[in-house]
Amino acid sequence: MIVRIMGEGQVQIADGDLGVLNELDSELEAAIEADDEPEFRDKLHALLDKVRHVGKALPDDSLEPSELILPPADASIEEVREMLGDSGLIPG
């Protein structure tokens, strides 16, 4: 499965690693819903660290769409909320 970390590029992860990523992703989602910036930052970094750890970087010239996409490491809770709201933050 291909995962993109925005601003960093794409990595290939094994299906077996998906379970732990989904758990961390759910915690991240809960932090966004609770509007808890410190918790959000912790969970986002935990998730990104895990993806970087288990993932293998794709070559620069690959043209594969990603199945999962993660916000950039320095994104704020507000930015991520805007991205998820599809309010034009991501250029078309």
């Binding site: 966004i32 043209l63 769409p65 250029p91």
Partner: protein, 264 residues
């Protein structure tokens, strides 16, 4: 639905919207390739803008460091002539400059990190654009509507996602750079207004003026003493600044740093 999945769907829907606008897939390929080249140009401009901001901050750090060093020298000189009040004022001003320098260093590091990120993104996008161009030409050369559509969609989705990602990185870099430009502009104004000392020495510097006055007064006294000695009217002068009391009276109050906009 999870954050990862939702973001992925948003990217995909943007790519699909762009694809749906095109009737002939070959047009889509050419149009997309043009957009990619435009974005590459924009990314390169973005890298150059961030680099310019970084250099500007570097210049400001250097200027303020020179001022800081000058104030330290003044403090030492003031102390050597027994003017602890002047030395304290010089060191207090130096301390506020050190804070400015620390703040500018943080800005500098942020800009450098942004520049590195954009440079990497630019290289990655360049590789993908080259790859897309090859794929596009192959598809067009062997074009038949039915079989080409799937391959076009795959290639297009991949490059479109990258463009969205890099496009957002550029937007964010522009925002951050604009904030730092504003701060850099504020520092330039402080330098220009004299709230931060003009390191060129062209501005009237009250600490230096006081030291110069003391030095000047001392020179006059030394010259007078030397003349008296020549005429046999007194002992030979002791030229050491460390000896004796300063000629100028200490100011009752050291001047405060001028605020921006205050008259010099």
């Amino acid at each position: 639905m999870s954050v990862m999945k939702r973001l992925s769907m948003i990217f995909k829907s943007k790519a699909n919207k762009a694809l749906d606008k095109m009737e002939d897939p070959r047009e889509t390929l050419d149009y997309s390739y043009q957009r990619q080249l435009e974005l590459l140009q924009k990314v390169r401009r973005g890298v150059a803008d961030v680099a310019t901001s970084r250099k500007r901050v570097e210049l400001q750090i250097n200027q303020i460091e020179q001022q800081s060093s000058r104030l330290e020298d003044q403090g030492r000189k003031a102390l050597s002539v027994g003017r602890e009040d002047l030395a304290r004022e010089a060191l207090s001003r130096r301390s506020s400059l050190q804070t400015q320098i620390a703040d500018l260093r943080v800005q500098h590091d942020n800009l450098q990190a942004e520049e590195e990120k954009l440079t990497t993104a630019s290289q990655r996008l360049q590789a993908k654009v080259d790859s897309f161009r090859h794929k596009k030409e192959t598809i067009k050369a062997t074009y038949t509507a039915a079989e080409a559509q799937t391959r076009i969609n795959e290639a297009f989705s991949g490059i479109s996602e990258e463009m969205g990602d890099v496009g957002l990185a550029i937007q964010r870099a522009e925002d951050k750079t604009a904030q730092m430009q504003a701060r850099a502009g504020a520092i330039d104004e402080l330098l220009a207004s004299g709230a931060l000392d003009d390191f060129s020495g062209s501005r009237n510097d009250d600490i230096q003026a006081e030291l110069d006055r003391m030095g000047g007064g001392r020179d006059v006294e030394l010259e007078l003493a030397r003349m008296k000695a020549e005429l046999g009217q007194g002992p030979a002068p002791q030229p050491s600044l460390e000896q004796g009391q300063p000629q100028a009276q200490p100011q009752s109050q050291t001047q405060q740093l001028r605020q921006p906009g205050e008259p010099a």
